[in-house]
């Protein structure tokens, strides 16, 4: 009986550890978004990435819940050891009307990029 109990405890510990590892390897959309200025009216509803022809491609869906807002965005492409693969991208303006959503695509500048961050900023 004691043997079974110890096996059960061991199995439970392994499962918990695996879950924690899985959680830490996939950061949430909130963790992957950097907000600057007043961008509270913009919600990020979806975020995904895929390697296409050897280059990391990201897709972010944003939605504007309140009044029309002038926001700009850029991607930060990250390679090994969390280093940015190139210098900063220019801010790109995006127009999303009230209640509208839009899909933003980003392609990494080099095949070295393995991860990304999505940066939102207001302009004007």
């Amino acid at each position: 009986m004691r043997k079974y109990l110890s096996v059960l405890i061991a199995a439970f510990t392994v499962c918990t550890a695996l879950t924690l590892v899985a959680c830490s390897s996939t950061p949430s959309m909130k963790d992957m978004t950097v907000r600057m200025g007043d961008t509270d009216s913009i919600q990020i509803t979806d975020m995904r990435s895929l390697e296409r022809n050897g280059v990391l491609t990201a897709q972010v869906t944003i939605q504007n819940d309140s009044k029309s807002n002038l926001v700009s965005y850029r991607f930060k492409w990250i390679g090994k050891n969390g280093m940015a693969v190139t210098d900063e991208e220019p801010w790109k303006p995006v127009t999303v009307g009230k209640g509208q959503s839009t899909v933003i695509m980003g392609i990494a500048p080099t095949p070295d990029a393995t991860d990304f961050r999505f940066e939102l900023n207001q302009y004007k």
Partner: protein, 196 residues
């Protein structure tokens, strides 16, 4: 006498103030070169940056570039300005070239506009008789480009008393020099509206 002293003092103060104002000059500060520029609806730095980035990234992902074993050799042809504005299209292609070079996926052969400098240098080394033979860059070893990049930028501008609407479309093509086939093409659209 006292009146005279007062007048002199006052005029001295006025002069000092005037001198200080003249010295202060305009206020100068550095801005963010990557920030969104919305001074007016004309073609601007944000347009240039957005066009170059969109074209570079799309080109890097194309089969012609990502699918080749060695980094293919490409040359820049001209981008035609079909807009009513003066736009230095060479700046756009140079920016695209720099970003492609930094990716390490493409090599560039000298373009037509840079050819004069290249031939001048080869002539100088080979024909002047001033250089050690073993160090001379030999003629006949230049590499031909596999592909060339060319395109155009066009615009539609509409004006009313209070509104100015500008639409730009930038088109870029990658053409195989040997086969004449278009290997990749993409476009970037920009719309800007200025209201009073």
């Amino acid at each position: 006498m006292t009146m005279n002293t007062k007048t002199i003092r006052l005029s001295a103060i006025a002069l000092a103030i005037a001198a200080l104002t003249a010295c202060s000059g305009p206020q100068v500060r550095y801005g963010d070169a990557k920030a969104v520029e919305t001074v007016n609806a004309d073609y601007g730095s944000t347009d240039l940056q957005m066009i170059a980035e969109a074209m570079t990234r799309s080109l890097l992902q194309s089969k012609a570039i990502s699918g080749s074993k060695d980094a293919p050799i490409v040359t820049l042809a001209d981008v035609k300005n079909k807009t009513s504005e003066y736009i230095d299209t060479r700046v756009i292609t140079d920016k695209i070239r720099t970003q492609l070079m930094k990716s390490g996926q493409v090599r560039f052969a000298v373009s037509i506009s840079e050819m004069q400098n290249q031939t001048d240098e080869l002539k100088r080394q080979n024909q002047s008789g001033l250089y050690k033979n073993s160090t001379i860059a030999k003629t006949g070893n230049m590499q031909g480009a596999q592909y060339r990049i060319e395109g155009s930028i066009a615009s539609i501008v509409k004006n009313t008393k209070d509104v100015k609407d500008v639409y730009y479309v930038f088109n870029l093509n990658l053409i195989n020099n040997e086969s004449g086939l278009l290997e990749w093409a993409d476009e970037k659209e920009i719309r800007k509206t200025a209201t009073r």
